[in-house]
Each structure stands twice: as C-alpha cells, then as structure tokens.
C-alpha cells in the first residue's frame, strides 16, 4: 500500500508571519497612478514558505514517485542531466533580442534540433515556436489556411478528423476558423476509407490523423489515406502525440503527411511540469516551408542568423522562439540517445505495451475492443467489471492510487466504453510492469465496495467535483466571501 504524506496544509493567506512595517514611499510617481491599496499577499518568513511548498510537493505524484502510464501523454523518465544543463547560466540567462553573435550556442542548438526532427519525421523543415502540442496543431492549421489561400482556393472550409482524435484536434480546427467534420472509425478501430472518401470534397482543407491512433493501432491504410486526401486537393496533418511508437521504424513524411507536429514533452522526455511548459514543434514538406513562422534560423559560413524576410510567412504564433528550456532539454536527450537509442526507445515502448496488453487481455477481467495489433499504448474496457460488479473505469483508476501507481487515462478515446488507456513507455522495467498488471487483476477481484470508495491512501478521499462547480471558489477572496455567506 501507498502511504502519501498527509498535511492539513493551510493556504498562504492563512499563514501569518511577524509583520515588518516597512512601507516604501514613492515621491516621484504621480499620485494619480499610484496603487491605493496594499497588495494583500502575506509577508512570511523564508522557513515558512519553504515548508509550505515542500509539504505541497509531498502531496503530489510525479514520474519520480512511481509508474505513470497515462495513455497518450508518454510519461517517460525525465533524465536529470537534461534538467541540470537547462539551468546553466550559459543558456538560461540569454535575452531573446541579444545580438545574434552573442547567442550562437543557443542558435546552434535550435538549428540542429530542427534538422534532427526533420530526419526523425521525414519532412523538410521545422519551426520550434509552438509552445505545446495544441499550439502546434493550431500552427499547422494556420499553415494549411495560408497554403490554400496562396493557391487561391478559399472555399476549403472543412477539417476532417476521426472520432478517435484528441480533443485538441477539433478545438484547434475550430479556433483556426474551420468547420469540423468527424468520421466514425471502422470495426477495427481505424480510419474508414469509405467514410473518408465521402467526407472529402473541394471544401476539405485537411485531414488530421494520429498514427498510431489513440487506440494504439497503426493506420496500415495510411498510403491509401494519403492518396485520397491529396487527390481531393487537401493536406494531410500528423498529430505527433504518439511518435514514441515509431521512431526509426516509420516516418510520417514517408507516409504522405504534409504537416507534422511533435510533443517534445512526450517523445523527447522534457518534463511535463504539472502541465507545461511543453513544446510542439511543427514540421512541413518543402512546398509549405515558405509559410512557416518567423524568424527562421539560417546558417551561413558557419554563422547562425535569424531570418525575418519571409514574405509568405504566417508571422508569429508565440512571442520569442518557443519554450527554449524544453527545446534545450530535448536536444540534450537526443544527444544522449542517438539515432540507435531513439529506435530502441520505440521498440521497447511498443514491447512493454504489448507485454502488458497480452497479460491483461488473457486474464479475461478486462476486454480490449477492436483489433489485437497495438503499438505503444492500448485501450482496455472495464465494461465487464461494470456489468458483473458495478466497478467503473474511474473506480479502478482511483484504487490504483492506493497502490502507489498513477492510473491510466480514463474515458478516452470516447468510442471505448469504460476506457482505460495504458501507455507504459520504455522507462519501466519488466518487474514494474508485472506489478502493475498484478495490481490491475487484483483490483478486479477486490470487494467492489472497497474499490468504489477508493482512494483510501491519498491525502484526500474522492473529491466532490460537482460541489466545486456549484459553489465556485477560485481564490482566497472568494473563499472569504463564501465563508461569510455561511456556505463553506
């Protein structure tokens, strides 16, 4: 059993330090501009602050705490050396507008990483600017729009995507001004070519696809998909969330994809940081290069430079050049792994997933809809457990917490009922996989009441999320108001 540290840690606003009355007077700032009220953030001692955040950290689960097989998120080990190098002053203390001659090292890293990503994905040019996967998608769709406008094809208003796609795909498409057309998957869990052909038209701007898809299935018809999409005059977009499955095995560019985004915080091991900063570089085939965001990084006579004179560029999608610390960590990771190491990464990520899949499916407690062949992740259904014992995917997830493991992604993709989406990554040992498998099987046989009331070992028990919506409290101030009204 897992034993998390449990603190009744007060809010910062509930702590109080020894007040130091030391209020700076400002003579030269016009009174009309001056803040009338003091900023109400408590003045605390450093000891108090360190203990506060230290306690909070101990009530948080990360990859260093234990296995974290969150499907589609590629929660692999984040090498410490990448962290350390990213904090070196030589990299961390650079201003984005410093003269190019004084940041050659930073530009070298970015230039090389762009070219390495081209080799891994089989496209011709990369931009590192997007801050996360979803922003990469958004960038890709802006490129799509720029391309069609350049071709004087302004009637392309639709983006097609399969029903297994990540939520960010339709959201990004909508944000870029496109109408979303969702097509159902086949009984095998892959793209339905007939449905795709029917959906494609002179109105289609692009087709967005994750390959392997979110069920972990490789879209084996990819060459035919590319042919159909291109025949309709549309572009083919690669969501790179699942790139960890195929490095050195197959390249999106060779499959016929025109635009590719990668998640450096997934495949290339930069930490997820509790939800960022990430990095979502976007790569394109030659014919789309002219539209990439500025600045581009160019190399002339061994000197790196920014190039802003790109008249067809979509401009900028983020201030600066991207989340540089993530870019740097990914570059260091790739140096460590090398081409051979990246290939082995994908081999073992897929092997680990298939090992778990075999053992869990054979156990009969969990079922796996759709075809058997999976890559780096697979999606189980808890439907049988629900029918027999009333145990839902959510209950299994919460019970896993009691054993000190992070649960898989639950209820995604939407086409699998009571879904558990498991992605062990290459970082876990066989022994760890075995323990996780055993635990999942054990939970299936446990007393349903125990499972349905889980977690029991965490700092808090199951949370009233409905209450959070009903009585919204987002700040210290709102808490005070709710207390005053007697609701808390």
């Amino acid at each position: 059993m897992y034993h998390s540290a449990v603190y009744d840690e007060p809010l910062l606003s509930e702590l109080s330090g020894n007040k130091r009355e030391h209020y700076v007077k400002l003579s030269s700032l016009p009174p009309s501009l001056q803040r009338k009220t003091r900023v109400d953030i408590p003045d605390l001692d450093e000891t108090q602050i360190v203990r506060h955040f230290f306690h909070l950290s101990q009530m948080n689960f990360g990859i260093d705490s234990g296995i974290y097989p969150l499907g589609s998120c590629t929660m692999k080990y984040n090498p410490k050396i990448c962290e350390e190098i990213s904090r070196w002053e030589q990299f961390a203390s650079l201003h984005p507008y410093q003269h190019e001659s004084t940041v050659q090292g930073a530009l070298h890293v970015m230039y090389e990483l762009e070219h390495i990503l081209c080799e891994i994905t089989g496209v011709d040019s990369f931009t590192l600017q997007p801050a996360a996967g979803a922003q990469g998608e958004f960038t890709g769709l802006l490129l799509t729009r720029a391309y069609h406008e350049y071709q004087k094809e302004t009637g392309r208003t639709e983006v097609i995507l399969p029903d297994t796609s990540h939520g960010t795909n339709p959201a990004s498409a909508a944000m870029a001004g496109y109408t979303v057309v969702e097509i159902p998957s086949t009984k095998e869990g892959t793209v339905d070519l007939n449905m795709l052909e029917k959906a494609l038209s002179e109105k289609t701007a692009c087709f967005m696809l994750t390959n392997p898809n979110t069920l972990g299935i490789f879209e084996a018809d990819i060459l035919e998909i590319a042919r159909l999409v291109h025949k309709a005059g549309a572009l083919l977009y690669y969501d790179g969330a699942n790139m960890n499955a195929i490095m050195g095995k197959a390249r999106p560019g060779d499959m016929g994809f025109d635009i590719v985004h990668l998640n450096l915080h997934k495949t290339f091991s930069t930490p997820h940081g509790g939800g960022g900063p990430g990095a979502g570089p976007v790569g394109v085939k030659k014919f789309l290069e002219r539209f990439l965001p500025v600045p581009r990084i160019v190399k002339q006579n061994d000197v790196y430079m920014f190039e802003y004179a790109c008249p067809d560029s979509i401009g900028k999608i983020k201030a600066g050049y991207g989340n540089f610390s993530a870019i740097l960590k990914a570059y260091v990771y790739i140096l460590l792994m090398g081409g051979n190491g990246l290939q082995e990464t994908s081999e073992v990520a897929v092997l680990n997933a298939n090992y778990m899949k075999r053992k869990l499916v054979d156990s009969k407690h969990y079922t796996m809809p759709y075809c058997d062949h999976r890559k780096h992740e697979f999606v189980l259904s808890c439907e049988q457990l629900l029918n027999k014992k009333g145990i839902r995917a959510l209950d299994v997830a919460k019970r896993l917490l009691d054993y000190g493991f992070h649960p898989p992604t639950v209820y995604f993709p939407l086409i699998v009922k009571e879904a558990l989406m498991i992605e062990p990554t290459e970082s876990e040992s066989k022994k760890m996989l075995d323990i996780y498998i055993e635990t999942l099987l054990k939970i299936a046989e446990e007393d349903p009441a125990l499972v349905k009331n889980a977690p029991h070992q965490t700092p808090v028990k199951r949370i009233d999320e409905v209450g959070a919506v009903k009585t919204p409290i987002f700040t210290w101030d709102m808490l005070e108001k709710v207390k005053e009204s007697g609701q808390a």
């Binding site: 984005p96 997820h272 999320e465």
Partner: protein, 446 residues
C-alpha cells in the same frame, strides 16, 4: 541503453507473449514505408554530453558576461534560491496535468494560490491557471471578448510590440475578428484618447490597453478610456507587467474587464525568451467563457478541504470543437515559479522591488538624456523601460557590443517613425559599475 531498463531482456519478453522478434511488433507497417535506421549519430555518455554542451554554451554570452540593457518585455531579474529549489522538487516537475486530483493536491493548491495572487495583483475576481505567454493571452482575450458580446472588431493601440500584434492577428483570423489600431501621441507615448473615442464603432468587442505600454510608458488617462469603452458597451482589456503592480493602480481600480500579461518577470529566467507565463484574469461574470484550466476549492467525501480542476465543460477534452480554447498543456511549472516568487516577496517585498525598478528606470533615463546628443522620446512617466533617440544607433550598438555591453533594442525595424531610437530596460540586476560603463561609453560619443 541508459533509460530503457528492458533493453537487455527484449527476447525474453517477446517469447513470453508468443512473439519471435521485434519486427513482429511492427509487422502492420507497410514495407514500403518501413525505415531501417535514423541517420543520426549514435548516443553518447552523460559525461560526454555535458562536455559537448559546455562547448556549445561557450559561444553564448549570458547576462553575467554581457550586461544587457535591452527592453522589449523580457528583462533579467533576481531569482531567489528558494524558487529554484522548490522548482527542482520532482514531485512537481515530473507530474502532468492533475487529472487525478487525489494524487495532485500539492500542485492544485499551488495553482489555487497562484490564481488568488494574480487576482489580487490585477484587481480582478478570478485568474486561470496560465496560458502560454503574454502574446497568446492577448489573442485569447480578443476571442473571449467576441464570445461574450458577439461583436467582431478588436481595437489595439499602436504602442504594443509587433510580435504581440502578429500573434493576435493569427489568433483572431479564424473567428473573423477585425483588428483596428488606435494611434498614440508622439510626444507622450500614451494612447490618443480623442482619436480612440471617434474611431470606436458599435461593433467593437473590446479595446486593449497596455500599461506600462511597449515604450515603458504609463497610460495616465485610464479613467477616461474606461468610460469611452464602457459607454460603447465594449470590453476593456488591460495588459500589465505584474512587477509594476506593486506600486501602480491595478486595472481593477480603473474597471478593466480582463487583465492579461507576461509573467516572466515573476521569478523566471529569461531563457532566450523561452520561459514564458501567460497571465489571464477577469471579472467573475465571464467565468464560463474563460480559456484554459481553472482550479477550484471543494471538499472530499469526508468533508476535508480539497482542490480540483473545475468548470471543465469549457475545455477541449470535454467540449472538443465547442471549447473556449484549444489549450491543454499550459505553463504549469512557470506558474509554480511565479507562485513561490510572489510568496517569497510578500506584499511589502513586491512593493519595494516595484519601486526599485521604477526608480532605477527614472534615474538611468535622466542620466542618459542628460548626455549631449541623447534625448528622451516620450514625456509620460515610465516604469523600468524607456525610449532614447540619438544619432546613428546602429554604430553605437556595435561600439557598445565591442566593449562588452548590449545596448537597448533598436525600434526602427518595427516602428518606422521611431528611427534612431533605442528601447532601454533596467532592473535590480544591473550593477552600478555596468551602468557607469554604459554611461561613459555614451558620453564618449561615436
């Protein structure tokens, strides 16, 4: 391989699940597109990697080696060891979005504290859990204005950075929102209120005002601007440098509807423009339209205080194409840095630091503009950035660089009416000796 524990036992594992070779796992990939290997160098050891990175790092000149007086948003600030130390707690940095709140209470509570402090600083009711950066936060704000009032024009002043304008343009294109620009006064650097009044249409979804603006100047007519905007039933969006809010009025005090900003100044390294933090705060009535994650306080089933992600029906993982934004991964760890930083400063410390930055900005501007041939361009009061005009800025820039100083930002590349102008920035990080050196080189002339 060092990070792949099962690499030595692949055969054994394959056998156990009835497969013969690794190739069996990839047999569904069409032969035509199978690759054999990646044309990349083989991996190297951790020690060799450090050495390689040291060599690469040598060709960079960080702030300690090359004092920089660049303005333009990013500036160096002191980062307390406490912030660095907490950020290295790997329970925080190796976690993902807190989808399982029971195992993520620590991070969730930290976000709640962040939301509280940003709301307090900006004078707004609520804040989200962060966006990518200040520029994308502006894009999201424009989209949100249009969602709230269904109007299709968004007004921005000409005294914002070209980058921000460019990002904004890309963000609103899909929604069909038209960008209209409001001019600024050439003498004060502040927005031209009369022109704003006459050009604002009935279709105006929102007006953006930056305070301090890109030229470092404080906008003094905020009350009047606020009235004009609200008379037209339009929304008032204000961009801030959070550090300035220790001393200047919060946008809430002049009735802003939304506040955005770049939070890099809150305990984050400059990171070549990389470690950004998009702040987004607003009035409570817009909560259902806010983009990004929102953390709420609630209870667990035993009645104990607990935190969780809330109002998720706004978000892409639930609402897909109907979501308020496509954002998923945000800037979690940068948000944590800001939270620790603000709590380390406290209300008093923030005011002190804010005042120090203001005063250093005033003093450096007075020193430079008292040198013959250098004049300050805008008369309005400013924070820690300001614009100076002098002859032949490019030659001066080179001369400074040769002597180991990075001068101000050249503005004429983006603002044609600001030829021979430099945007200077100064903070608590600049040593007196570096400032002296800068001034003496300027005094020498070209």
């Amino acid at each position: 391989m060092q990070f792949i524990p099962n690499a030595p036992i692949k055969e054994e594992m394959l056998k156990e699940i009835g497969l013969e070779s690794i190739d069996d796992l990839f047999s569904d990939i069409p032969k035509k597109i199978m690759t054999q290997h990646l044309a990349l160098p083989p991996g190297i050891s951790q020690q060799a990697t450090e050495e390689r990175m040291k060599e690469i790092g040598k060709t960079n000149q960080p702030f300690c080696a090359l004092p920089s007086f660049l303005g333009g948003g990013t500036k160096p600030h002191y980062i307390p060891a406490v912030v660095k130390s907490i950020l290295q707690r790997s329970e925080f940095y190796t976690a993902y979005t807190p989808y399982q709140p029971e195992a993520s209470q620590g991070f969730l509570q930290a976000v709640f504290e962040y939301q509280s402090m940003i709301a307090e600083l900006t004078g707004m009711d609520i804040s989200n859990a962060s966006l990518y950066d200040g520029a994308t936060a502006l894009g999201e704000a424009a989209l949100m204005c249009s969602r709230v009032n269904r109007r299709k024009t968004f007004v921005i002043p000409k005294n914002i950075s070209w980058e921000k304008k460019c990002v904004l343009t890309n963000y609103v294109k899909g929604a069909g929102i038209r960008i209209q620009e409001a001019p600024y006064h050439n003498d004060t650097g502040a927005i031209d209120v009369d022109t704003l009044r006459t050009t604002m249409s009935e279709d105006c979804a929102g007006v953006y005002l930056e305070n301090p603006n890109y030229f470092g100047v404080f906008e003094e007519d905020v009350e009047e601007i606020q009235q004009i905007i609200h008379e037209k039933k339009s929304l008032f969006v204000v961009g801030v440098d959070p550090l300035s809010l220790g001393i200047v009025k919060s946008p809430g005090e002049y009735e802003a509807d939304m506040v955005i900003g770049e939070g890099n100044s809150l305990g984050l390294p400059m990171d070549f423009g990389g470690s950004t933090l998009g702040m987004f705060a607003c009035r409570n009535e817009f909560v259902r339209q806010i983009p990004g994650r929102l953390i709420g306080m609630t209870k667990d089933k035993d009645g104990k205080r607990a935190f969780c992600m809330t109002m998720q029906t706004r978000e892409q993982h639930i609402r897909r194409e109907k979501a308020t934004s496509n954002i998923c991964t945000n800037e979690g760890l940068c948000m944590l840095a800001a939270t620790v930083y603000l709590s380390w400063l406290g209300g008093n410390g923030l005011r002190e630091l804010s005042a120090l930055n203001y005063e250093r900005g005033q003093r450096l501007e007075q020193h430079i503009s008292s040198i013959k041939g250098f004049e300050k361009v805008f008369s309005s009061p400013h924070f820690n950035e300001f614009v100076i005009r002098c002859a032949d800025v490019r030659t001066l820039q080179e001369k400074l660089l040769q002597q180991g100083i990075q001068g101000g930002l050249l503005l004429d590349q983006w603002y044609h009416d600001l030829s021979n102008c430099m945007l200077f920035g100064v903070t608590e990080m600049h040593r007196d000796s570096d400032i002296k050196r800068l001034l003496s080189i300027l005094q020498e002339g070209l």
